[in-house]
Subunit: 215 residues, 2 copies
Amino acid sequence: MRIGILGSGNVGQSLGKAFVARGHDAKIGSRTPTSDKLRKWKEAVGGRSSTGTFAEAAAHGEVIVLACSGAAVEDVVRLAGPDTFAGKPLIDVTNPLAFAKDTSPGLFVGTTDSLGERVQRKLPTAKVVKCFNCVNHETMVNPSNTDTKPTMLICGNDEAAKATVSKILKEFGWDDVMDIGGIDGARWLEALVPLWVRVATKKSTWHVGFKIVNG
Amino acid sequence: MRIGILGSGNVGQSLGKAFVARGHDAKIGSRTPTSDKLRKWKEAVGGRSSTGTFAEAAAHGEVIVLACSGAAVEDVVRLAGPDTFAGKPLIDVTNPLAFAKDTSPGLFVGTTDSLGERVQRKLPTAKVVKCFNCVNHETMVNPSNTDTKPTMLICGNDEAAKATVSKILKEFGWDDVMDIGGIDGARWLEALVPLWVRVATKKSTWHVGFKIVNG
């Protein structure tokens, strides 16, 4: 499958490497696609890895992954070209983190709206699926790096797109995937992240997740 | 220990019964302390159980438990008499749930404030500890009713009060308790609850919780 990844930080690089390792063709989009950082990524990953502009990566993808910072989402979507997303599954990994001095981060949107819903409103013909947002980039592609695998919580309005994402999650080793409903669920998946940061700080590791337990 | 419980629904009744079963002296406060419902509760629980007005229950408690609906918090605190809370640990079990027709509940406060913080501001000399808010009333007093015990997440500004609450949690069978910091953490513990409702709906059981897993 051709994957377009918008964002070249740890998240974009880890997901890109994992897609290529599983036989997919992944292009990372960036403002600076020929940077040293991305040249090294491409060299290290090999196979069907490539880099390009945000517009090139979005056009490349049968599935698009939005993996930039929450604050950059509007710019990245504009630079990629909103029409490019039409009809495609869009895996939204972003979080609306509001960073503050001397305290753990909060969110710049929540409770009655979310970044996932904003992305869906901005790209009404994209099939947005919130996914991967509640774990570290290393856990995303290796859920076995916690003592028990966490539950991966996803949401979105399109059933077929969620099925595609669930298939990808299975390839990445996720056994316990739970679909909590429409994209409005992003309000609560994003709200897990300030809690996750506090828990990770307590545990002194970013390899932390939430596992659903039930009777 | 003398416990004052403000609220006589499932949560207040289950916690009251569990406190008495562990040798404590629990008084449930209610607008209607002589109702059939509470008479039956007292008969069934026996031991050192009693009922009274909100003011009587709050005065009774060395530890007070706020276990009313989120919408009733302001009234209940006013009826109990704010001075009665001075210097006491106050276990805040409440959630600011906003119920909506045809959809899962949201929250009426969140992201930049929380019901826990509102309670702490209203009762500045109380030692508010958010606790128990993310599980069903049956799980609160029996964490073994899920396949693996969930993690109990708590927060509050007073270390001694959190130590008292942790001792109570141990008596109730909670092995895995995590203190995530100050009462502002209630923003994220309360935001777990709309997610918890969605997960419970998916799992078709209220005996559902979140377990922290880490590497």
